[in-house]
């Protein structure tokens, strides 16, 4: 603990006291009828608005969610101990909101925007952003066309994600859902270093505090905390804090989006959020529906994910955007984006459960992760057959689009043939070629955790794969070859890689690259 001198303490005390406003205002109050299970019923508060913050006499805040004829149901955003029947509750006349600013970058905050990483208060100017805000309308949007590089070869090549897209990551527990999203955040370091940061927000809902600490450490070690904010509502936090955490994250993302910058938000995970929402709804005595979720659980997710958007690149139009909070009106610029990567955890690969089907239908595509692929050593365990990106095609750089064009088809054919080959017997030459290529492509698409690949290197190795140039390399040697080849490329042919990155596929460059690959092959025979 830092030593603080007595005179400093008295200075702080004086400052605190000078802020104190002793005059009394007219307040609207109600009284607590009952409290328990994280909700309270209030008598009075006749004029309270839906979603308004109310404050108990001990300082605990709550949100009014049920306005009934004779009482108001509120969900507590803090501990319910210390609240008694008959306590006074007063309106704050503000809807639930969070204070957002540049100072949030690199910090860990809770749903209310308070720092929980022990690094002191959030610095810099802060702007009030409402938790619940309507998504931008059609006029203020643009089609998704800029790529968001995830650094995961299988995704960038076959399921490309664009800035402003919503791409679901879905799979059983322990299949690497979080890992893919963390990799994506780490891969944005390239843009941070280039001075065009993609601001990342990682929202942890209902996770163990140790897991969140682990994620933070990973990001710190990769240098990714410099452009990342973590919003954490841990398993021990009250259910309302858990189901509002994604909304708090979205509010932070919107601050970057509306000030003309790209942002990426990971919701980890929305199934837990739905469970927290179900808990609150049942306690508020709203009627349960399928799987006991309330009727508006679809709207809960659709309104959240709809806030991911690519904003039109015209400042004067963007400035008229609907539902802009007063506080950031002067900062609004066009061209920003908010990309969302919601995560859904399935039980025993059941994607036809209620929440998975809902979120699949809301998002612009999904990345399926499978346990048996994971166990077979295909990591990331993406099932490319059923994973899709509905808008990402326009969001690939040209070189990648050309190179990976046939990859998805090749892999689909390979999987079909693979089933055949398992019966044994002789295969004709064409089938064998398909299988050989497929096996090597599968090897290419594997990559270790926390090591995203820059797009130009992805282009180089996938070119070799899709053009069958790896057929002389034994399957087991493919990854070793890949590593050596990419090292040689960055040392000997950096100018070719630079061209790939720009989106070009120069013929002479490709010739040089192929010669280099052929030189290396004998080493791995």
């Amino acid at each position: 603990m830092v030593d603080i001198k007595p005179d400093e303490i008295s200075a702080i005390l004086r400052q605190q006291l000078s802020n104190f406003n002793a005059s009394a205002d007219l307040e609207e109050v109600g009284t607590v009828l009952q409290v328990g299970d994280g909700i309270a019923r209030i008598y009075g508060l006749g004029n309270v608005a839906y979603g308004e913050l109310v404050e108990f006499s001990n300082g605990v805040k709550a949100i009014a969610l049920n306005l009934e004829e004779d009482n108001v149901g509120v969900v507590l955003m803090g501990e319910s101990t210390g609240i008694k029947e008959g306590d006074k509750v007063r309106r704050t006349k503000q809807i639930a909101s969070i204070k957002v600013g540049e100072g949030l970058v690199g910090r860990v905050v809770n749903t209310l925007g308070e720092a929980i990483d022990g690094k002191g208060p959030i610095k810099g100017e802060l702007y009030e952003m409402p938790l619940e805000r309507k998504a931008p309308g059609v006029l203020y949007r643009e089609p998704v066309k800029e790529p968001l590089q995830t650094g995961v070869k299988a995704i960038d090549a076959m399921i490309p994600i664009g800035r402003g897209q919503r791409e679901l990551v879905i799979g059983d527990r322990q299949t690497g859902k979080t890992a893919i999203c963390i990799d994506t955040i780490i891969n944005q370091k390239e843009f941070y270093d280039a001075g065009k940061p993609v601001y990342c927000i990682y929202v942890a809902v209902g996770q163990k505090a140790s897991t969140v600490a682990g994620v933070m450490k990973t990001l710190q070690e990769a240098g990714a905390m410099a452009y990342t904010t973590i919003v954490a509502a841990n398993a021990s936090d009250p259910a309302p804090l858990q189901f509002y955490a994604p909304f708090a994250g979205a509010a932070i993302g919107e601050f970057f989006r509306d000030s003309g910058r790209p942002a990426l938000i990971v919701y980890d995970d929305l199934s837990k959020q739905a469970v927290a929402y179900r808990e609150v709804s049942l306690l508020l005595k709203r009627p349960p529906g399928r799987e006991a979720y309330p009727g508006d659980v679809f709207y809960l997710h659709s309104r959240l994910l709809e806030r991911a958007a690519k904003i039109i690149n015209k400042d004067e139009i963007a400035r008229q955007m609907n539902d802009l909070p007063e506080s950031i009106k002067h900062l609004v610029k066009g061209g920003g984006s908010l990309t969302a990567l919601p995560i859904i955890e399935t039980q025993a690969s059941d994607v036809s459960a209620y929440i998975p089907t809902n979120v699949i239908s809301i998002t612009d595509g999904q990345i399926f992760l499978e346990g048996n692929l994971f166990n077979a050593g295909v990591r990331p365990a993406i099932n490319v057959g059923i994973s899709v990106s509905r808008v990402g095609g326009n969001a690939q750089i040209k070189s990648m689009k050309k190179v990976s064009g046939t990859l998805k088809l090749d892999q689909a054919q390979y999987r079909e043939m693979e089933a055949f080959s398992k019966f044994g017997g002789d295969l004709d030459a064409a089938t064998k070629a398909v299988i050989d290529k497929g096996q090597r492509n599968v090897e290419i698409l594997k990559q270790p955790q926390f090591s995203p690949f820059p797009v130009e290197k992805q282009v180089a190795i996938i070119y070799l794969g899709t053009n069958g140039l790896l057929r002389d390399v034994p399957v087991k040697q493919v990854r070793a070859f890949e590593e050596a080849f990419l090292n040689e490329m960055s040392v000997r042919l950096p100018e070719v890689l630079a061209e790939f990155k720009k989106g070009n596929l120069p013929e002479d460059g490709i010739k040089k690259m192929v010669t280099l690959a052929n030189e290396l092959k004998p080493r791995f025979a």
């Binding site: 603080i4 005059s23 009394a24 007219l26 307040e27 008598y43 004779d70 720092a115 002191g120």
Partner: protein
């Protein structure tokens, strides 16, 4: 309050009838009296709520308790409640009747709470001050709560002016507990 609509419907019916019969004031006094009695006697409330005691027995008991102390209209009202098995909501109905009566007469009740008892002159001064801010007739109720330490709390219709020392101290305490630096010092 299990069914808010129940109390308000019966209260409205009674108010309408009393107005028709020109007995509004008498019925209002009855209702205030009933409210007081029910508030001070939990036994009576339990009796009214008990599903085991038969209606005719309840009617007899109520007659024994209230015969001669209530106007005929009120007494008929109570008998009606018993015959409709709504006697359990009588307490809520008396409160609701008073509320509707005050709306009808444009009266608003203001409760002032202080740490020490106020003298009549101060109360009158407060009443006039409040009355000057409102178009309604003001009935001032006073209460004493030593925990306030000083200052006063004015309360009416779900609105509150809290100028007590207790509240100021609470606010200061909260301001300190919110401050990250200060909580680190402990």
């Amino acid at each position: 309050m299990q069914n808010p609509r129940l109390a308000s419907r019966y209260a409205k019916a009674l108010i309408d009838l009393a107005q028709e019969l020109n007995q509004l004031e008498a019925v209002n006094t009855d209702m205030l009296y009933l409210h007081q009695v029910l508030k001070s006697s939990t036994d009576l409330v339990n009796l009214l709520k008990s599903p085991i005691i038969k209606a005719d027995k309840k009617q007899k008991i109520l007659a024994a308790v209230f015969e001669g102390r209530l106007s005929n209209t009120t007494f008929a009202f109570i008998n009606l409640l018993v015959s409709k098995s709504r006697e359990s909501a009588l307490y809520e109905m008396t409160a609701e009747f008073t509320r509707q009566y005050m709306v009808l007469k444009n009266i608003s009740k203001v409760k002032v709470t202080t740490a020490v008892p106020l003298d009549a002159a101060t109360l009158e001064a407060i009443r006039q001050k409040v009355a000057s801010q409102s178009t309604q007739e003001i009935v001032l109720e006073s209460a004493v709560d030593p925990e306030l330490i000083g200052g006063f709390v004015l309360e009416t219709n779900g609105q509150l002016i809290d100028a007590s020392v207790l509240r100021d101290l609470k606010d200061i305490k909260q301001q300190f507990s919110k401050n990250i630096y200060v909580s680190d010092l402990r």
